[in-house]
């Protein structure tokens, strides 16, 4: 991990939570919080001024949806890593964000250490994944109602890993069963995330899908 300063833009509409997250990030000496925005407009303004290393954003904002911000940022500054703030770590909002280009999520009520840890993991190339998210992805990949062209093209190994996670096996268990080194599992997960990301060529499809997902999540 580089010893460089990690610049961060935080987008969260609830002031106490924004305050709390800001405090937690400020507690880490190598982090520099460039801006803490409370709305989509503020966030866009901040991102117009800065190119942060990490963008941390909530999904539901008073003047729009965080996925728009994520997509714009992925296009404008692909190097910026994006974390989504989730209240419950629920699979729908997280996967929606991943499809827009986020690489990870953190729980809103996590401890300051967890928050900082999540940012460091992300920069180290590790994406978090829960059993519920893995299960959700498997369902989407194998679901009969999903159009074939919208199914993520995962390798059999990646699907095996998702299965293992969904069934509650640890990374070590999964690595042992698949004959892999435990350290490679996070890399595989990161790859899965990248494959989930919808690129601009299928923007329209994604928009429809994300809207549907958002409606389902409401």
């Amino acid at each position: 991990m580089s010893e460089q300063t990690v610049s961060i833009v935080l987008v969260e509409d609830d002031p106490p939570t924004r305050e709390r997250l800001s405090r937690a990030l400020a507690g880490e000496p190598r982090f520099a919080l460039l801006a803490a925005a409370g709305s989509l407009a503020e966030a866009r303004a901040a991102l117009a001024r800065h190119v942060p290393t990490v963008l941390i954003t909530d999904l539901r904002l008073p003047d729009g949806h965080g996925t728009d911000l994520i997509r714009e940022t992925r296009q404008a500054t692909p190097a910026t890593e994006i974390l989504v703030i989730s209240v419950l770590g629920d699979e729908r909002s997280v996967v929606t964000a991943i499809r827009a280009g986020a690489a990870g999520y953190l729980l809103k009520d996590g401890t300051p250490e967890e928050l900082v840890g999540a940012v460091h993991d992300l920069l180290a190339g590790h994406s978090p994944i829960s059993a519920a998210i893995a299960r959700y992805l498997i369902r989407r990949i194998q679901g009969p109602h999903e159009p074939e062209e919208e199914k993520p093209q995962l390798t059999p190994r990646e699907i095996e890993i998702l299965y293992g996670i969904a069934k509650g096996f640890t990374y070590n268990d999964i690595a042992e069963q698949l004959g892999l080194s435990p350290h490679t599992i996070p890399t595989h997960i990161k790859n899965i995330y990248r494959k989930l990301e919808v690129h601009s060529r299928s923007e329209a499809v994604f928009a429809a899908l994300s809207h549907r997902l958002i409606r389902l999540g409401e």
Binding site: E113, S130, A131, A132
Partner: protein
């Protein structure tokens, strides 16, 4: 049902049939004009008139009559000449000026029996003499048969053929055509019956046709060489035919059969036995006295059944048969008059034509009935298909309604359960938090802790709603994700040991929530009270079910702890879902063991 013909049409039908029959039977048939038609002849040296009839005095010998007829021929006039005989029966021999011209024994003839048939012979120019010519006609019979010879016509062939052709068509060609048709139709009916034995009407009528064909065989084959016995057999077949026809009448019209009907078979059986047992003369007497009148009665019975059915039940088909029967009666009257020499002008027998016509009409009606039966089957199928489709639709609708009801019930039950959970759990916790905040000396960290507990419980409720099928492993994986932050926050290392688990049928959200709460309680207790830096959660198949163990390595005790949380509520929850809960503790730690059954009772 059959459409009923209107009375006016019926009167028209019967009127037309009767009028035509009377006209056909009694109207004089066209005869060649006087110069050609010769009705005076010489028989055995004495003048005799034509037509003439001979009856055999001795049954064994037969009768014989010879006529000399003279006519004048002028050569070179009106083309070749011919002899035209409107009718003769039995054997016939014709000589012209001493030369043999025609002999049925050589040429064969359809008129060997009682039927009369026309004859047309071209007269060769070489044999004709200028002026007077002599024709010699000999009619000979054998056995009991009568011989007949009509007046003779001699004249230009072209003119005479115009008289011959329609007569030949009516009395030779048409009967032959109908007979051929009956042969084919008998084969069809018997085949139908063979494939479908229930249709005894088809068998009966098929046999009627077979009898008819056998009886009329002389129309198709030359029987002039047959013995008397063979010819009599043909008469016997006629008796069988009438009895069959009577039975058929009952079958076809669906008239209830009287109990005495089978006795009718006695008639042909007795006739056949008498034929084989009695001498010729005795049999002839027996037949005249008993068999023929009885056969005629049977014929009337069959006709009566048809006519009665026609008037009782109506329908074009039965009326058609009845009309043909009425027509046949007229023909029969004609034939009786001819037989008793009351109609000497033109000796033709129409009974055969009537019978053939009747059989043809009935045969056509049988075909029609067959087609109608097929139509009925089609309509029945159609209706059945419709009814099945209707029943299926009703069933599907009922099933859908049932499913919708069940789903609605399920949703209602889940809603009730969730509402209960939120009331008992979250609402109480929020109230408690509010109360803590409103207290003058609010302990903020304690408030935060309460809020987190409320949040944890809410997450469990939400997690429990995820549809995981019967997959306990997936559900426990979700639980691990939930407790991981808590353990990290307290710097407790989680030793998670998961095995491949069997599916647990009947695992539904309310059970999942209870399991979550039991495990959450166990983990919370370990975090708060054990003082251990390590927590093992081991999940494994055990005795057909699944065993979940939460093990800490601290100094906690099993005794109920302060704050109302505790073992009592865990035990209660475990009992409620049919699981076994065991908690053991010693100096080295506490072990909570939750034994889940291999399957839960279904939720509905």
């Amino acid at each position: 049902m059959t459409r009923q013909p209107s009375p006016a049409l019926l009167v028209l039908l019967y009127g037309a049939a009767l009028c035509w029959a009377i006209w056909f039977a009694f109207a004089p048939r066209p005869q060649p004009p006087a110069p050609w038609l010769i009705d005076h002849a010489v028989r055995d040296g004495r003048p005799a008139d034509l037509p003439a009839l001979c009856r055999s005095a001795d049954q064994a010998v037969g009768c014989r009559m010879t006529f000399e007829v003279n006519f004048t021929h002028a050569a070179g006039m009106e083309g070749p000449w011919a002899l035209y005989l409107p009718g003769y029966s039995s054997r016939l021999e014709v000589r012209l000026n001493g030369y043999a011209l025609f002999d049925t024994r050589l040429a064969g003839s359809p008129g060997v029996l009682t039927q009369t048939v026309p004859l047309f012979i071209p007269l060769p120019d070489e044999l004709l003499r200028q002026g007077s010519n002599a024709l010699r006609l000999t009619v000979a019979t054998w056995g009991p048969l009568s011989g007949y010879l009509s007046p003779v016509a001699v004249g230009p062939a072209d003119a005479l053929r115009a008289y011959y052709a329609p007569r030949a068509f009516q009395f030779v060609t048409l009967p032959r055509l109908m007979l051929s048709w009956q042969i084919a139709f008998a084969a069809i009916l018997l085949t139908v019956w063979w494939a479908r034995r229930r249709e005894s009407a088809y068998l009966l009528f098929g046999l009627v046709l077979v009898c008819e064909v056998v009886g009329q065989a002389p129309l198709l084959i030359d029987v002039s060489g047959w013995s008397l016995d063979q010819l009599r057999l043909l008469h016997l077949v006629f008796v069988w035919k009438l009895v069959l026809l009577a039975h058929f009448a009952f079958h076809y019209t669906e008239t209830p059969r009287p109990r005495w009907l089978p006795w009718l078979w006695l008639l042909p059986v007795a006739a056949t036995m008498a034929f084989t047992a009695l001498p010729h003369a005795a049999f002839a007497a027996f037949a005249r006295a008993l068999v023929f009148p009885a056969a005629f009665a049977v014929l009337l019975l069959g006709a009566g059944v048809f006519v009665r059915a026609a008037w009782r039940r109506g329908g074009w088909a039965l009326h058609g048969v009845a009309a043909v029967i009425a027509l046949s009666l007229v023909f029969s009257v004609h034939d009786v008059l001819v037989t008793y020499n009351q109609l000497t002008a033109d000796r033709v027998f129409l009974g055969r034509l009537a019978m053939m016509g009747l059989l043809t009409v009935v045969g056509l009606l049988l075909i029609r009935r067959f087609a109608h039966a097929l139509n009925r089957v089609d309509r029945f199928n159609e209706r059945l298909r419709g009814e099945i489709a209707g029943a299926e639709a009703a069933l599907r609708e009922s099933l859908e309604r049932q499913q919708a009801q069940r789903a609605a019930m399920w949703v209602a039950r889940e809603r009730e359960r969730l509402t209960g959970d939120l009331h008992d759990g979250l609402a109480g916790q929020l109230l408690s938090i509010a109360a803590q905040c409103e207290s003058p000396d609010a302990d903020l960290p304690a408030v935060g802790q309460s809020a987190r507990r409320a949040l944890d419980d809410l997450r469990l409720v939400i997690d429990s709603l995820d549809d995981v099928g019967d997959d306990l492993a997936t559900m426990l994986a979700t639980f691990r994700d939930r407790i991981a932050p808590l353990l990290r926050a307290h710097a407790i290392a989680l030793d998670w040991r998961m095995s491949h688990l069997p599916l647990v049928p009947g695992l539904h959200p309310s059970l999942v929530l209870e399991i979550f709460r039991i495990l959450q309680e166990a983990v919370t207790n370990a975090v708060r009270h054990a003082g251990s830096d390590r927590l093992t959660i081991a999940v494994s198949p055990h005795e057909g079910g699944v065993r979940v163990q939460v093990i800490d390595y601290g100094s906690g005790s099993v005794a109920p702890r302060e704050g109302g949380y505790g073992l009592a509520s865990m035990q209660r929850r475990a009992n409620a879902i049919g699981a076994r809960l065991a908690i053991t503790a010693d100096g080295s730690g506490t072990r909570v063991t939750l034994g889940l059954p291999g399957q839960f009772p279904p939720n509905d």
